[in-house]
Symmetry: C2
């Protein structure tokens, strides 16, 4: 039986607890900051222990997963670092990696084995009520070792995510931030911009909309404060990707009068989109 400590009772933390229970082989402890949350989660029965006592939750843990917003991670890490054993694997689920991995690796140096993670398994829903054991099934889990990472810890972390149903890809923190700006942060900005553009141009437009508009804008329903923090933390890569998007849109506008080149452009986009791994 391994001991798994999950810090933060949101959608990801709660789903991790459920997925670990489903996988079996874990004793799961969940930390929440607020005592009201503890009472609610205890009543849901999704973890073996639920507590506001941070150091008690992580004491003796084999694996610790930080599931709080990226801005809250360093303070939390400092509170737990001296309770951990050097064998403990610590990871996080933050959506930005360069600043977080550098800061957390420094805090845990010599005290635990830290390697960053980012499961691409969020949702526009939030909170532990939306948690589900299947959240990581077939989800891409990006693991972000750097030069100082312990290879054995990286291998154990791979096995951890795979055991919860995930599909692991390694990337350096810098590679991660660049690629996630493209596939996650830019789509969020675009979806929010699309919602606001449409309403600014025609306040009645939503009454006419169908499933295409719904899907294209779904991610814009995600938690605003969390996303503002992510976008700000990864601002350079987000800015580059958004500027590339603007240039691409400007280019496409020149094709509106030319049906054959427009068909070719849309055919290429469709061919590429059809390459996306199908969901199971």
């Amino acid at each position: 039986m391994k001991s798994l400590a999950i810090l933060g009772p949101g959608l990801l933390g709660g789903s991790l607890a459920l997925a670990a229970r489903r996988a079996g082989g874990y004793r799961v402890a969940l930390w929440a900051r607020r005592s009201e949350a503890v009472a609610e989660i205890a009543a849901m029965g999704i973890a073996d222990d639920v507590s506001t006592e941070l150091r008690a939750v992580v004491a003796g843990a084999d694996v610790v997963v930080l599931c709080v917003p990226v801005g809250a991670m360093p303070a939390l890490a400092r509170e737990i670092a001296d309770v951990l054993s050097p064998a403990t694997i610590v990871t996080d689920v933050g959506s930005v990696k360069v600043p977080i991995v550098a800061e957390l690796a420094e805090i845990f140096r010599g005290r635990a084995r830290f390697v960053g993670s980012h499961p691409m398994a969020g949702s526009e829903q939030t909170g532990i009520r939306a948690a589900r054991a299947e959240l990581f099934d077939d989800a891409t889990c990006i693991v972000t070792p750097d030069a100082a990472s312990d290879p054995a810890a990286v291998a154990e972390l791979h096995a951890f995510w795979q055991g919860l149903g995930g599909r692991v890809i390694d990337a350096t923190p810098a590679e991660h931030d660049e690629v996630v700006a493209l596939i996650s942060h830019l789509p969020h900005l675009v979806a929010a911009a699309l919602v606001q553009t449409v309403l600014a141009e025609n306040p009645r437009a939503f009454e006419f909309s169908g499933p295409g508009f719904r899907d294209t804008t779904r991610v814009a329903a995600g938690p605003p404060a969390m996303w503002a923090e992510i976008l700000g933390t990864n601002r350079d890569a987000v800015r580059r990707s958004a500027e590339a998007m603007i240039e691409k849109l400007r280019g496409i506008l020149t094709l509106l009068d030319r049906e054959t080149p427009m068909t070719e452009f849309l055919t290429e986009a469709k061919t590429q989109r059809d390459r996306l791994r199908p969901l199971k």
Copy 2:
């Protein structure tokens, strides 16, 4: 028993046939241009009659629905106009209305009662194999009468779409084209641009993507030639909406360094997105 003639055996035509059968009260005839398509559709058993004989299919019909690409509609309309009775209701499912409604209304003047329609019920899938009776359930069906439309025909067309499960909204052809540029044509351009931007910036990016990217880009998998025609036909409204989108994106980029205004922007977008009518 009403006689319904569906011209064009694609996703929409096939789904109309299935929905009309499910609703009951219709004898359904389906026209396809190619004899191989006729054989395939006859074997599927989704219509009472399937034929390449256009004039025979529409003869005596109470309702005729044009389900071919917008560019093919005028020629088709000219072929059938003199077979119809003045009581026949003719509509279409085209995604652009100003040019089509003007041209078709002129062709059918005095020969049948034409009123345009646009059910917001497509999909990135195409072809009769993807057809399903439920396609119009709770779908917004935009009906586009103009000053010359027969009010009784408009009322009957409302009842027709409602009977197939749809939710009807009226708009003038001009209102339709402006609003659909925003909620359908712009999202298509944006999704295709997003796919191509991401791959141009990082050819490996798709390996990392999750459900958010999948949903945001879904519509880009739609049929390219059909979409190039739609975008070109509605080019002025599409251009205006895309330019508004570019301006909005530029504005958001100025918020990347300012977490509070960015949170406010994303909160407003989320609040608006949450207003979208839930799917049943």
